[in-house]
C-alpha cells in the first residue's frame, strides 16, 4: 500500500546531500541523532570493526526482528542478512542445552558419559564460528599486504526510509556495508577523494604502484578497477572455500580428548576469581594439548594422520587462494609494443 507523502511540511529532502537540515530538525524534535548524514567510507580498524559488529549484533537481536515480524515496509535484505547471525548464536546455546539440560536428570554414570560429548559438540559449534571468521584473514591479510586491496573496507550507508504511517518523521537509518560487497557493482565513489585536497585517485594510485603498474598514471582508476575486481573475486572465492575447511579444523580441535580436563573445571562465574582463573588456565593447557593431539593423532594410518590431513588441507586452501590471487591475469604487460612485434616477421595490417 502506498502512503501519502504529507511530510513535505517537515522539509524532508530525498537526497543524501541536503538532508542535514532535516537531520537537525529531527534531532531537535525527537532526539534521534545519526552518526552520518551521507554515505561515508570508514577506516578498517579494530575500533570500527568492533563498533559495527556491536551495532549489527544488537540490531539483529532487537530492532530488525521487531520490524520484520511486523512486516515493516522498511525491512530489507540487509536486515535479513544481519539477522542471519541470530540462528548461529541461539543454535550454539541450544546445542549445548540439548546435551546438557537433560543431563541433570540422569544418574551419575550416564551423566559422565553424556556430558563430555555434549560439551564437545557445543565447543565444536563455537570453534566452527571462530575458525570460520578468523581464517578469512589468512587470505585477506596477505592479499592486502601484497596488492593493497582490502576487500573488507567498510562504509556507512545513509538510508532514506519510507514513512511507516502518516506523520512518520523517523525516515532515516544507517546500514554498514562493505565497498566490495558486490564484485559486479563495487561502490567506487567511496574510494575517491573529494573536496579534501588530496589527489582524487590517491587510492587507485597506491594500488597501481603496488601492482607494479608504475606511478603517475593518467587514469589510474580506469586501469586498476578491472584488476581490483579480479582480486576481490579471487579473494572471495578463496575465503568462501577455505574458511569452511578451517571451521572443520576448529570442530576437529574441539573433539579432542584433552578438553575433558577443561570441562571438569569450567565456570562462567568470573566473580569467583580463583575458580575462574583456574578455568582459564586449564583452557589454555587443554587448547595446547588438544592442538597437539589433533596434529599427532592416535592409532595407525588414516586414523592417526586424519588431523594432519585436515589441517594441511586448510592451510593449503588458504595458501593456494593467495597464490591464485597474486596470479593476476589482466595485468598489462611490461613489454612495450615495440618489443612484442618481431621485426623479422611479416605483418599485414588491414
Amino acid at each position: 500500500m502506498i502512503l501519502p507523502i504529507n511530510s513535505a511540511k517537515n522539509n524532508i529532502y530525498f537526497s543524501a546531500e541536503n538532508n542535514k537540515k532535516s537531520q537537525e530538525k529531527n534531532t531537535e524534535e525527537k532526539g534521534k541523532q545519526l552518526p552520518y548524514s551521507k554515505d561515508t567510507p570508514l577506516k578498517n580498524n579494530f575500533a570500527t570493526r568492533t563498533r559495527i559488529a556491536f551495532d549489527k549484533f544488537t540490531n539483529a537481536l532487537t530492532l530488525y526482528p521487531a520490524k520484520g515480524i511486523k512486516g515493516s515496509r522498511n525491512s530489507n535484505f540487509y536486515e535479513f542478512l544481519t539477522m542471519g547471525s541470530v540462528p548461529y548464536i541461539i543454535g550454539s546455546l541450544m546445542l549445548m542445552s540439548v546435551f546438557n539440560s537433560a543431563n541433570k536428570h540422569f544418574d551419575v554414570f550416564s551423566k559422565t558419559k553424556a556430558g563430555p560429548i555434549g560439551n564437545k559438540m557445543a565447543l565444536g559449534v563455537l570453534f566452527y564460528g571462530i575458525a570460520k571468521h578468523i581464517s578469512k584473514s589468512f587470505v585477506n591479510t596477505p592479499v592486502k599486504a601484497l596488492t593493497g586491496v582490502d576487500v573488507n573496507i567498510p562504509y556507512a550507508k545513509f538510508v532514506n526510509e519510507h514513512p511507516e504511517y502518516v506523520d512518520d518523521t523517523d525516515l532515516t537509518s544507517i546500514e554498514y556495508h562493505k565497498v566490495y560487497e558486490s564484485v559486479d557493482f563495487p561502490y567506487w565513489n567511496m574510494l575517491i577523494n573529494e573536496n579534501n585536497g588530496k589527489p582524487r585517485n590517491e587510492y587507485f594510485d597506491k594500488i597501481a604502484k603496488k601492482l607494479g603498474m608504475g606511478t603517475n598514471l593518467n587514469d589510474s582508476d580506469q586501469e586498476v578497477k578491472p584488476l581490483i575486481k579480479e582480486i576481490v573475486t579471487k579473494t572471495r572465492t578463496a575465503t568462501n572455500l577455505s574458511s569452511y575447511l578451517w571451521a572443520a579444523t576448529g570442530v576437529a580441535l574441539a573433539f579432542q580428548d584433552p578438553w575433558e580436563d577443561f570441562f571438569k573445571v569450567m565456570t562462567l562465574k568470573f566473580w569467583d576469581k580463583k575458580k575462574f582463573f583456574k578455568a582459564a588456565e586449564t583452557f589454555k593447557d587443554s587448547l595446547v594439548d588438544s592442538a597437539k593431539a589433533l596434529y599427532h593423532g592416535e592409532g595407525k594410518g588414516l586414523q592417526k594422520h586424519a588431523g594432519k590431513i585436515l589441517l594441511g588441507a586448510a592451510v593449503a586452501s588458504s595458501l593456494l587462494g593467495v597464490i591464485n590471487v597474486m596470479n593476476i591475469s589482466g595485468k598489462p604487460s611490461k613489454l612495450s609494443a615495440g618489443d612484442v612485434i618481431d621485426k623479422k616477421e611479416k605483418y599485414v595490417v588491414n
Binding site: F80, V86, M94, T233, N240, L310, N324
Partner: protein, 839 residues
C-alpha cells in the same frame, strides 16, 4: 494508474527538440513518439518462476551442480559475479561439512560409530532444511496460499530465491491468474480497484514476516530437530549395519587363509632388511640386541613380547667377548678413571699400566683376537691387577716417605659388579658374536614367523572383537540390548512403575517380585511369558551360533599351534611356550587360552543372565504350584523354617551375587523358630505366600554354622529341584531345556560346592573347585541390577524425548500459530465499479 514521468516532464516543460530534426525528417514528431513510447522498450524478459515440485527436483539438482562447478571455475579465474560467489559459499559449506564428517569418521574405529558421525551431520543438515519447509513454508501455503521459498530464474538463467529481498520482489513473474488465486485464498474482496497491488502488498508483508520468523526460530529448532531425527534413525541404521557387519565377520572366518593373506603386513620384514643392511658383520652387543628386540616386539602382545625378548637374548648374545688391541687403551683409560678421584695425575701416571704393558700381557698369554674362556678371563684379570700392583710397588720403592697403600688400590680396582670394575668392564668391550650371514638368516626367519603370526592373530582378534567384545557395536552387545529391551513388555511391567523403580535396587526388587508372582500364579500368563522369553534367548543362538564359536576356536588353535612349532624350529622355546603353554594339550596360562576363554566367558556372561531370569521364573512357578519344591512340601520341616526358605529363595533368586553364595547366604533369620508346627505352606489367591510365623518375630542376620542343611535345602529349592513340568514342555520345544538343565546343575555344583572355611559343611552336593571367574559368570547379573540399569537407560531416553520433543512441539505450535497473524493489511475504503462503497 502509474504516473508517467517522461510524459509529465514533456508536458510541463514544453520540450522542443529544435528545428534541425524537422528539416531532415519533416514527418518525425518527438511528441508523437514519446506519447506512444514504443521505441524505448527493453528486450523482453525471459525470467520465470522455478517449479519447486518434487518431480522437478532431480533436474534442478543436476542443474545446480553444473552451475556450482562453473562458478568455481569462474571464481578461480577471477571472473565470477556476485551470484556465483554466493553459490561458492554453499560449496564451501558442503566441503566443510564433509571434511568434519570424514575427520570424525576416521577418528573412530568401529563402523557404527563411523556411521553415526555421518548420521549426526546429515541429520543436522536435514533439520536445517526441513524446519523452514514444515514449520513455515507449508503452513504459509495452507493459510495464505503463498510459497515463501519460491525460486525464480532471472533472464540470465541465475536461480535466486524470490522472497528474500522485500525491496526487490519481481512480481511481474506472477501471472494475474496466480495473484488472483492467492488473493481469493486470502479473501481479498474481489471488487476492489487495484486489487493486484493490494494482494502484492499483502504478499510482501507475509514474505518479510515469514523470513523473520525463520531466522528467529531456526536456532531453536535445528539442534533439537536434529537430535530427534538422530534418535529415531539410530535403531534402524544400527540394525542394518549390525547385520551387514556380522555377515562380513562370518565371511572373514570362512575364508580364513585369504583373510590372513589380506591382513598380512610386511613392514616388519622390510624393517629387518634395513636393519640387516646397516648392521651386517658388526659385533652383536647389548645395544644391537635391544634394537632388534624393539623391532620385533613393537605392537606385539606384552606377554608374547617378553618371550621374544628372552629368546632373542639367548639366541643372539652368547656372552662371549674378544680381546683385540683396542682394549689396551680402553683398559688404561678405565683404570685411570677409577683412580682419578683419590690420586694425583702424577701418581696415576706412574702406577697405571701403560698400553704397551697391557699389550704385553695380551701377547704373552696369546689371548689376542679370539674369544677367551672363563678361566682365561680370570687369569687376565689377575695378570692385569698384578701389573698395576707391581707398578705401585715400584713407586713405593722410590717415594718411600709417602707410600701408597696396596690394599686400598686393590679395593679401588676390583669389584663384583662388572660395570664398576675397570678391568672386567674393559674386557667386555668387543663381543665375540658377529652379525654374520647365518645369524642374518635366523633373524629373517624370526621376522617371517612373527609376521605370519601377527596376520593370523589380527584376523582372529578382529573376529572375536566384532563378535563378543565389550564394545557398543559388537554383535553380542547388540544382541544383549535387543534381548533386554524386550524383557519389560514381555513381563508386562507398566512403563510408569518401571521408571519409578530406577532409583533403588530395593524398589526394583519389590517390583520384580510382584511381577514374578503375578506371572507365576497364572498358568496361561506363565506359559506366554516363558514361551516369549525362550524365543528371545534362542534369538541369540541364531545370531551367535555355537558353530561360529567352535569354528573360531578351531582356527585359533590351529593358528597358534602352527606358529608355536615355527618358533620351536627357530629355537624360540620361550615364545612358543607363551603362545600355547607349557602343557600344550591344556594350554593353561597361554595366550591361546586367554583368547579362547575371552570369547567363551563373554558369551556365557550374557547367556547366563538370561538363563537366570528363566530359571528364576520357573522357581516362582514351582513355589506357586508347590510342584517340585522339595523343602516346601517336606512334611518333616517345620512351617516356620519352610517360610524362611521360601522367603529367602524369592529374595536371593532376584538379588544374589556370587559372593552371597560364597558366604552361604548371610540371611535374616529367626534365631528361635517355632519347631512344633509342621503344617503346609499356604499361598493366597493373588499368589503371595501367607506367612504364619515369618515377620512375627524380629528377624536378625544370624549365622548358624552347624545348620548346614539350611543351605543345602535352599540350593535344592532354588536350583536343584527339577524344573516345573510346564517349563519343561516349553523349553523342550525351543531346544533350550538341556542348556537350562546344565546351567542349573553347574550352579548347584560350582556355586553350591564352594568351600567356605567358616561353614565347612555348607556344601550343596559335592565340594568342587572353581575359579572366581566361573562363579562370577554363573551367577550372571543380578536381576534387580539388570532391570535397574535398563530402567535408567529407558528413563534417560524418555526424559530427553519428553524435554525436547515437548519443546519442539511447542515451538512448532507457536511458529505455525503466528502465521495466522501475518499479512494483515487493512482494506482501504473504496468504491467498486458498480458505485458501491465497501463496509
Amino acid at each position: 494508474m502509474n504516473t508517467n514521468l517522461i510524459h509529465n516532464y514533456i508536458r510541463n516543460n514544453n520540450v522542443s527538440m529544435g528545428n534541425s530534426q524537422n528539416q531532415n525528417h519533416p514527418a518525425f514528431s518527438v511528441q508523437d513518439k514519446l506519447y506512444n513510447r514504443n521505441f524505448i522498450k527493453p528486450l523482453p524478459p525471459t525470467a520465470k518462476l522455478v517449479d519447486g515440485g518434487i518431480l522437478n527436483a532431480p533436474a534442478e539438482l543436476a542443474k545446480d551442480w553444473v552451475y556450482e562447478a562453473k562458478s568455481l571455475k569462474a571464481g578461480i579465474q577471477g571472473k565470477a559475479n556476485d551470484h556465483q560467489l554466493g553459490k561458492l559459499n554453499d560449496v564451501g559449506m558442503k566441503l566443510g561439512g564433509l571434511a568434519i564428517a570424514c575427520y570424525l569418521a576416521a577418528k573412530k574405529s568401529t563402523p557404527l560409530t563411523k556411521a553415526m558421525e555421518f548420521i549426526g551431520l546429515g541429520s543436522f543438515l536435514a533439520a536445517m532444511s526441513l524446519w523452514p519447509k514444515i514449520a513455515i513454508q507449508l503452513p504459509a501455503k495452507l493459510i495464505h496460499g503463498i510459497n515463501t521459498r519460491q525460486s525464480y530464474e532471472d533472464s540470465f538463467g541465475r536461480k535466486k530465491p524470490f522472497s528474500l529481498d522485500p525491496q526487490f520482489l519481481p512480481f511481474d513473474l506472477y501471472s494475474d491468474k496466480k495473484i488472483d488465486k492467492i488473493g481469493n485464498w486470502q479473501r481479498v474482496p474481489k471488487d476492489m480497484p487495484n486489487r493486484r497491488d493490494f494482494i502484492q502488498e499483502k504478499m510482501r508483508k507475509e514474505f518479510v514476516q515469514n523470513n523473520t520468523l525463520w531466522m528467529l526460530t531456526a536456532g531453536f529448532a535445528t539442534p533439537v530437530l536434529s537430535g530427534l531425527i538422530c534418535n529415531f534413525a539410530t535403531p534402524y541404521i544400527e540394525r542394518g549395519l549390525e547385520k551387514y557387519d556380522n555377515k562380513m565377520n562370518e565371511k572373514m572366518l570362512e575364508k580364513f587363509p585369504d583373510s590372513v593373506a589380506a591382513a598380512r603386513n610386511n613392514s616388519l620384514n622390510h624393517k629387518i632388511e634395513t636393519f640387516i643392511q646397516f648392521n651386517k658383520d658388526k659385533p652383536i652387543n647389548k645395544n644391537f640386541v635391544d634394537e632388534l628386540t624393539k623391532l620385533f616386539t613393537d605392537g606385539v602382545q606384552p606377554v608374547l613380547a617378553d618371550g621374544i625378548k628372552e629368546d632373542l637374548a639367548s639366541l643372539l648374545d652368547n656372552k662371549k667377548f674378544v680381546i683385540d688391541n683396542s682394549l689396551t687403551e680402553h683398559i688404561n683409560k678405565n683404570l685411570t678413571l677409577a683412580l682419578a678421584e683419590n690420586f694425583d695425575d702424577e701418581i696415576i701416571q706412574h702406577i697405571v699400566p701403560t698400553t704397551d704393558q697391557i699389550s704385553d700381557v695380551f701377547t704373552k698369554g696369546n689371548y689376542l683376537d679370539r674369544a677367551y674362556t672363563a678361566e682365561e678371563h680370570r687369569s687376565i684379570i689377575t695378570d692385569l691387577r698384578n701389573l698395576l700392583l707391581k707398578n705401585v710397588d715400584a713407586y713405593n720403592a722410590v717415594e718411600g716417605n709417602t707410600p701408597i697403600n696396596r690394599e686400598f688400590i686393590e679395593d679401588l680396582i676390583s669389584n663384583v659388579d662388572i660395570e664398576a670394575d675397570p678391568i672386567k668392564k674393559g674386557l667386555k668391550k668387543v663381543p665375540a658374536r658377529i652379525f654374520d650371514v647365518n645369524t642374518q638368516a635366523t633373524v629373517k626367519s624370526i621376522a617371517e614367523a612373527i609376521t605370519n603370526f601377527n596376520a593370523k592373530e589380527k584376523v582372529l582378534h578382529k573376529y572375536a572383537y566384532k563378535k563378543v567384545a565389550h564394545a557398543a557395536d559388537s554383535t553380542l552387545a547388540i544382541e544383549y540390548n535387543r534381548m533386554t529391551k524386550q524383557l519389560v513388555p514381555i513381563l508386562g511391567i507398566s512403563p510408569e512403575d518401571f521408571e519409578k523403580a530406577r532409583y533403588d535396587r530395593e524398589l526394583m526388587n519389590k517390583l520384580l517380585r510382584k511381577t514374578f508372582i503375578r506371572i507365576a500364579s497364572n498358568k496361561d500368563e506363565y506359559g506366554r511369558v516363558m514361551g516369549e522369553l525362550a524365543d528371545v534367548v534362542s534369538g541369540l543362538d541364531t545370531n551367535i551360533k555355537d558353530s561360529d564359536i567352535s569354528s573360531y576356536k578351531k582356527h585359533l588353535s590351529n593358528s597358534f599351534n602352527d606358529s608355536a612349532s615355527d618358533f620351536d624350529k627357530l629355537n624360540m622355546k620361550k615364545t612358543a611356550q607363551r603362545l600355547v603353554g607349557m602343557n600344550r594339550a591344556s594350554g593353561n596360562g597361554s595366550y591361546k587360552k586367554v583368547m579362547e576363554e575371552f570369547v567363551s566367558d563373554r558369551l556365557s556372561g550374557v547367556k547366563y543372565a538370561m538363563y537366570r531370569l528363566i530359571s528364576t521364573l520357573d522357581m516362582f512357578r514351582r513355589i506357586e504350584t508347590l510342584e517340585n519344591a522339595s523343602v516346601l512340601t517336606d512334611a518333616g520341616v517345620p512351617r516356620a523354617i519352610k517360610e524362611q526358605h521360601l522367603e529367602m529363595a524369592m529374595r536371593e533368586a532376584i538379588q544374589a551375587h556370587s559372593s552371597d553364595y560364597a558366604v552361604k547366604f548371610y540371611d535374616p533369620r529367626d534365631p528361635h523358630p517355632n519347631l512344633d508346627d509342621f503344617s503346609n505352606i499356604e499361598i493366597s489367591a493373588d499368589g503371595t505366600p501367607k506367612y504364619e510365623y515369618l515377620g512375627k518375630e524380629k528377624l536378625k542376620k544370624v549365622d548358624i554354622p552347624q545348620d548346614y542343611k539350611y543351605f543345602q535345602k535352599s540350593m535344592q529349592l532354588m536350583h536343584g529341584d527339577a524344573m516345573h513340568s510346564e517349563s519343561v514342555t516349553i523349553l523342550k520345544s525351543k531346544n533350550l531345556l538341556d542348556k537350562l538343565n546344565e546351567y542349573r546343575k553347574n550352579i548347584v555344583e560350582i556355586l553350591g560346592g564352594e568351600f567356605y572355611f567358616i561353614k565347612p559343611e555348607h556344601i550343596a552336593t559335592i565340594q568342587k573347585e572353581s575359579t572366581s571367574e566361573q562363579r562370577f559368570l554363573l551367577s550372571g547379573i543380578a536381576l534387580d541390577e539388570l532391570f535397574t540399569k535398563l530402567s535408567k537407560a529407558t528413563h534417560n531416553t524418555n526424559k530427553w524425548l519428553k524435554m525436547f520433543g515437548g519443546f519442539a512441539a511447542g515451538l512448532f505450535a507457536i511458529t505455525v500459530g503466528s502465521q495466522f497473524f501475518f499479512g494483515r493489511v487493512k482494506v482501504p475504503e473504496y468504491t467498486n465499479n458498480k458505485g458501491q462503497k465497501n463496509a
